[in-house]
């Protein structure tokens, strides 16, 4: 007996049909028309089919660009509601991403090293578990990158000389998004170029350590030491509501210690960390003791790591819904507040009984320390307050010192950017009773000298005595 197999007729799956109408023109029998009702699942208007004249030619299946928009009816198809709707996201079988914790390993004791600041930071990064370096040559920071290029390949690490700082920061965005500790060395003009990416990293909560060996600006400026990126790092990290912890070392030892701390903080808060050195600090050689422990990093639960467990993770900084973006910003603000409350750091030198307080960071703090010693020998109760975090400014450590003070002298290699941070911090803390503030400033690669700091302090005291 002759048997014919009946050709299947089309069925529209309304939740998937976008109503593009390609099937409408494909159907020779004119069975399909553009729909009129919005599908609540998709928010789109699916086509409508009248099967009365359908001969099962199948041209409409071929015309449909959607994988499930319009398909051949199969009696085995379960056309109940669950098939016609989008899959329920909660029913996904993907496992919930878990953190794979890192380890702290003992480091065998070794003799202290005599190394330059950028080398110290590079070694600090390696001991903090960083095995991914991206960067672009720029004086006076390049030696740090060069050391990484030499050391990383046989530590199972990655070194990439990118084609620019713009490429660098986006490589860091990718690597940090994968949950891996990564870093760069750069200098002021290069850091300017990275700011777009930094803003995205902050928005997407991606960690990364930026070591900016600041040089003279603005523009191309020169390659001498300056502290002219304090404003940029503390107040101007790209567009939007951005902040990052800003660390300021004053010696090769601190270049190592604070780089290690930077890696700890960048993962603790899922936020980039900026370490600001200056041209001298990058280049000077000093004794550097290695820590007793080093870090073997784990994988954070949010990392796009490429294993089955982390496959749900998505890194992005876009939130198109206005209320959602506000909630995200409130979350960032809450994070910034936690940082302000718990991460203020400063070094106080002879501050306890000081009535004259010098405030300085980076290399100028070294001159200021010398000045304090000379002033103490002359009977002046001078002290040095050295912020180690510029953002958050260590106002909680400074505030108790203020009542005893007769004067504050800010010493910096910039046009008052450190002073601005101090004044903002005082203002936010609503501290009104502040002693007179004067300053010693230099620019363009010129550093403040010890003698001019001493002169500035004595000048104010003399004025007080005569009046």
């Amino acid at each position: 007996m002759l048997q014919t197999r009946e050709r299947p007729k089309p069925v529209v799956l309304p939740a998937y049909c976008k109503g593009c109408g390609r099937c409408v023109s494909a159907c020779p029998q004119h069975c399909i028309t553009l729909g009129t009702e919005i599908n609540p699942e998709s928010g789109l208007i699916p086509v409508e089919i009248d099967l009365e004249k359908c001969n099962g030619c199948g041209l409409c299946f071929a015309a449909c660009p959607e994988p499930y928009g319009l398909t051949a009816y199969d009696p085995l198809m379960d056309l109940d509601e669950s098939y016609l709707k989008f899959p329920d996201e909660d029913s996904s079988t993907a496992p919930v991403p878990q953190e794979i914790s890192g380890e702290t390993l003992p480091l065998p004791p070794v003799e202290p090293l005599m190394i330059k600041g950028t080398y110290a930071a590079a070694i600090g990064a390696l001991l903090a578990g960083c095995r991914h370096f991206f960067g672009y040559p720029i004086t006076p920071s390049t030696e740090g990158a060069e050391l990484m290029a030499k050391l990383l390949p046989n530590l199972n690490g990655v070194f990439v000389q990118a084609v620019s700082e713009v490429a660098t920061v986006n490589m860091m965005y990718g690597c940090g998004g994968a949950g891996m500790p990564c870093m760069t060395f750069t200098s002021s003009p290069g850091f300017s170029l990275m700011l777009e990416g930094v803003s995205y990293m902050i928005g997407a909560e991606v960690p990364g350590v930026f070591i900016n060996i600041m040089r003279g600006g603005p523009g191309l400026g020169n390659i001498g030491p300056e502290q002219a990126d304090i404003k940029l790092a503390c107040r101007g990290l790209g567009h939007g509501n951005t902040h990052a912890i800003v660390l300021t070392p004053d010696s090769p030892q601190e270049m190592l210690d604070l780089t290690m701390l930077a890696f700890e903080l960048t993962f603790k808060y899922r936020n980039p960390v900026v370490l600001l050195g200056d041209g001298y600090l990058g280049q000077i050689t000093g004794k550097v003791k290695l820590p007793e422990r080093m870090i073997k990093p784990g994988i954070p639960s949010w990392g796009v790591y490429g294993d089955d467990m982390h496959r749900r993770n998505l890194i992005c900084s876009i939130q198109l819904s206005e209320p959602d973006l506000e909630i995200h910003n409130l979350h960032l603000n809450e994070k910034y507040q936690r940082i302000i409350e718990s991460e203020q750091r400063a070094d106080c030198f002879h501050c306890d009984d000081a009535d004259t307080l010098i405030i300085a960071a980076n290399t100028p703090a070294r001159m200021a320390k010398g000045a304090v010693q000379v002033l103490r020998d002359r009977g002046v109760k001078a002290g040095l307050f050295r912020p180690i975090t510029l953002w958050p400014f260590p106002i909680d450590i400074l505030a108790p010192l203020l009542p005893k003070l007769r004067q504050i002298v800010i010493v910096e290699a910039s046009n008052g950017q450190l002073e601005d941070e101090l004044r903002l911090a005082l203002s936010h803390a609503e501290i009104i009773d502040v002693p007179p503030i004067s300053h010693v400033r230099h620019f363009g690669g010129v550093l403040p000298q010890q003698q001019e700091i001493i002169d500035r302090v004595l000048e104010t005291i003399d004025t007080e005595v005569t009046s």
Partner: protein
């Protein structure tokens, strides 16, 4: 802009010398380029005050200090963008972009391509030394695979850019190569570039004596260079060698070197054509440096006139003005959805 015999060569050259101390390393190939530029500039028929040199960042980019004309030392890789601004603001100027392999092919790759694509009537001189000299010896986008530098201590993995292929692909209308050691050839090439209407791109093989000495030895060493250099001349067969005893043929889609012995052997030799509208031939020429069995072509690869960006830009302004009349700001403010509230 032919040679002007009336110009007193010596004094004209001095005319373009600036009062700055030249701060390149002793023995740098840049000196030769500077000397030829100062020689050529008086001959192109453009007065000193109509000449602008624009550079990015790198050793080469110090060039504008050393020429007594208008100069811009700009941002890393952005000289082509700055030059676009200058040329469109004042199309009468003779604009020269001085750049290096790091400046124009890494961070500035994007700007370079779009300058060529638009065919802005400017000249680009790319000093290619295959290294980052100013930051003291890191590999550049033209450094060969395996090159050991401070940031590639175990050898570079990057496939280098071929600058000529790149700019040809981007549609540059004038493409040439010259060598710092061949000063006569360099001067002639610069003159041709200046005379060309449109975007003129010149690659100069330039020796970095400190960080990459001898990178172009095969084409500069007098003992071997004749066997490795192919001088391109419009309408002349692609023949090279100390005794002109070798030539280039097209075999299928590949160039092949052929030994020339007797008149018949010259059959089928390629003849150089600067104005070939199809890029395929010029592209094959550009790829010759990647073939160890072929010589390095120098000279003008391509010189093809097509409308320049500044020209069509100004034309459009004229056309719109003609069609819509001269714009009047006061009228513009009160056109469209504007109304008066009493």
């Amino acid at each position: 802009m032919a040679d002007n015999p009336a110009v007193d060569q010596k004094s004209a050259k001095a005319n373009f010398a600036s009062d700055q101390d030249v701060r390149w390393c002793p023995g740098c190939g840049d000196y030769a380029i500077l000397a030829q530029m100062k020689k050529v500039l008086p001959e192109i028929g453009v007065p000193r005050e109509k000449v602008v040199f624009i550079s990015g960042i790198g050793c080469a980019s110090r060039f504008p200090y050393y020429i007594n004309s208008y100069g811009f030392h700009t941002i890393h890789g952005r000289a082509p963008a700055v030059a676009t601004g200058v040329k469109l603001a004042n199309p009468e100027l003779s604009v020269w972009i001085i750049t290096g392999d790091g400046d124009s092919l890494s961070i500035g790759g994007n700007h370079l391509l779009h300058l060529c694509r638009r065919n802005l009537n400017v000249n680009i001189i790319l000093f290619n030394n295959q290294i980052y000299g100013l930051t003291k010896g890191q590999y550049s986008p033209t450094s060969p695979v395996g090159k050991r530098t401070k940031t590639t201590p175990y050898g570079s993995l990057d496939t280098p850019f071929n600058p000529m292929s790149l700019v040809l692909g981007a549609g540059a209308s004038f493409v040439a190569r010259t060598i710092d050691r061949d000063t006569k050839h360099m001067a002639a090439t610069f003159k041709r570039a200046a005379a060309h209407k449109g975007c003129s791109f010149v690659e100069v093989y330039q020796n970095c004596i400190i960080f990459n000495d001898g990178a172009f030895q095969s084409v500069t060493d007098p003992k071997i260079k004749q066997e490795n250099l192919l001088y391109l001349e419009d309408g002349r067969e692609l023949v090279y060698g100390a005794d002109n005893d070798k030539g280039i043929r097209l075999e299928g889609l590949k160039l092949e070197a052929a030994a020339l012995n007797g008149p018949e052997s010259r059959n089928g030799l390629l003849k150089h054509q600067e104005t070939m509208p199809d890029e395929a031939y010029t592209y094959l020429l550009s790829k010759m440096t990647e073939r160890p069995d072929l010589p390095t072509p120098i000279g003008v690869f391509r010189a093809l006139e097509r409308p320049t960006y500044d020209e069509v830009f100004m034309q459009q302004i004229d056309d719109v003005t003609q069609k819509k009349g001269k714009g009047n700001l006061k009228e513009l403010f009160i056109t469209g959805n504007t109304w008066k509230v009493d």
